[in-house]
Amino acid sequence: MAEKPRLFLVDDGVHYANTIAQHMPEYELVQVTADRSRAADGIEAIDYLNTSQQHVDLVLLDMRFDVSEDRLLPLPEATSLRRQRRYQGIAILRRLKAEFGHLPVVVLTSLADLSVAEIAVELQSLSLTYMLNGDDLDSLRIRIHEALVDAERLPEENGIFWGRDQAFRALRRRMAILARGRLPIVLEGETGTGKSYLAEHYIHERSGRTGRFVTVDLSTLPSNLISAHLFGAVKGAYTGAVSDRKGVFEIAAGGTVFIDEIQNIPLETQKQLLTVLQNQVVQPLGSNRDIPVDVKVIVASNEDLGSAVRDGRFRSDLYMRLSPATRVVLPPLRDRVSDLPFLARRLTERAGFEPDVFPFRVQLNRSLGLPEDSPVQLSLPDDKAAKEAGIRLVLPAPSWRRLQRHKWSGNIRELSMVLHNLVTFSIVGAVDALESGLSLSSRRLQVDSGLVNQLLAGGLEPALSDDKAAKRDPDVFAIKLKPGQSLNAVSVDIERQYFEQLFDQTNGSLDAMADRLLGDPARSRAIRLRLNQLGLSLRDLRRR
């Protein structure tokens, strides 16, 4: 029989300890002192976790601590000692999150004993979802079970980096539940937090729907075509409608429609979308025929839709119909610092398999006598000696600190690009050294601290070129020359890099790209066509 999960209780009172001991024999409480199976305050809890060798599976944390002042952890926003005691659990929670981010925490509070509005805001900002709605035994059991199951899940699944951060992992459960329901789902999060990927590869896959997953990115559609794109149109409905066309709601019948950048939807289209959501029918432009639709709707926004409602840019009835209750806010990377080591390692390994790095990695592996398919791994300052499977990029401590302190406004996408460049430069640099006659015997490659600084300070262009003009002039782009099979392949690669950088510079606006290149923002269709010809999909561009 497997060992019982070990619960670490942080509580100044005896009630929970007694209850668990009496009614939950399936769990074992960690013995903190000879006569206590609980830590009586935050200081004792942190000390224990830092010094004890005992394994802990989960922390149960009370919220209020009636202990002496010298045993309280600081809580800057508490305006009185009374409030510091009342919300002491928050101070402890912050320390646990900062120092033991991998440990699941169940907060033992209830709607009955606290000023709910205040506490709920704080817990939600930490994205913890374990506030009990009552103190009944079964709900506590379920919370503990869910948290333990979550903690055991793999940190990576189907290309999604859940990591070990409890807050982000809790979202997984929430999204899995919402996926099966009929309500629309609202995904909010900064750019690069993975909204579209999660919509397709997590929510849609768990929805049980057999129809297609169809994406509509409202930021790339001319506003006058959005209605036709969403709901379809009959021949002659508007200039250029030379034949009937199906809208995405019809195309995705039985599946999922993902509407990205929903905050860009014109007000007049919002009314139509509201009608579709209410009545489950679409009426193509120029037609009075109702077509029943059965689709799961997921919308995404990189801004708070509530504030768009307050600004009058978004209809409140549509907002309510989209159901704020199903809102999932994806945390920015800077709030998942405990996951940074895991993410950095995995993204480094993945970068080694990117097509532009792959041949150099194989060449280097061969030169070092390693199997050709050995991965590239990242070695961090605190790493204990690990089994080395392939080339190891050794990141100096100051560079690692720099990565940890960085704001990551582009989130995982930005981290991925930085690591991709680190891997590229390190591997290509080593291959260059080999080709110039140097002999390498170690599989450990020191990452250039200067390169890390450059990548974090100025984006990618300065790192790819020393040309200072690239930093100043928005019309100057840095192109990295790569050998191709033919001049045509070289030319395509240059143009591809050029479009990728312009795409980034214009924040992905095809209108702005058309304006810059062709002097006419209305010619975004030509830009889209060219991107297609170059094999650049909008989705991939955004995911980078």
Partner: protein, 129 residues
């Protein structure tokens, strides 16, 4: 004279110390407790309501301390008297501890004890507006 913020603070403390903990042992009972188990839970609910670093406090003493501190601060609030009655109704079951009537009336006992928290919250909400 107590201001609104002080009244809220006082009621929040009561919600925690009395509202939460008087119901705690009953909330944690299995769905079909036997007689001794139920007696034990009510005994704990009323007599060892709050057990922490400062020792053990009964529901009666928590309530007495609250009344002492509150004075007549809540007299003008509509929800004060119902809250007062709810707490007194819960405390009154203390007289039945150890008697068969307690288990026979277990639904009423449970309802009365669990009603304390809701009654305090109603007064708090009224003051908070």
């Amino acid at each position: 004279m107590m201001n609104k913020a002080e009244q809220i603070e006082l009621l929040d403390d009561l919600l925690h110390d009395l509202g939460k903990y008087i119901a705690f042992p009953l909330n944690m009972l299995p769905s079909e407790p036997d007689g001794p188990m139920f007696q034990d839970a009510v005994e704990h609910a009323l007599n060892q309501t709050r057990v922490g670093a400062q020792g053990s406090q009964s529901a009666k003493s928590i309530w007495a301390n609250f009344l002492n501190e509150a004075g007549n601060a809540f007299d003008k609030n509509d929800c004060w008297q119902p809250m007062h009655d709810a707490v007194e109704a819960a405390l009154a079951w203390g007289a039945h501890l150890g008697k068969p009537t307690l288990f026979i009336s277990r639904k009423q006992v449970t309802d009365d004890i669990k009603a304390v928290s809701a009654a305090i919250r109603r007064l708090r909400d009224q003051i908070n507006g």
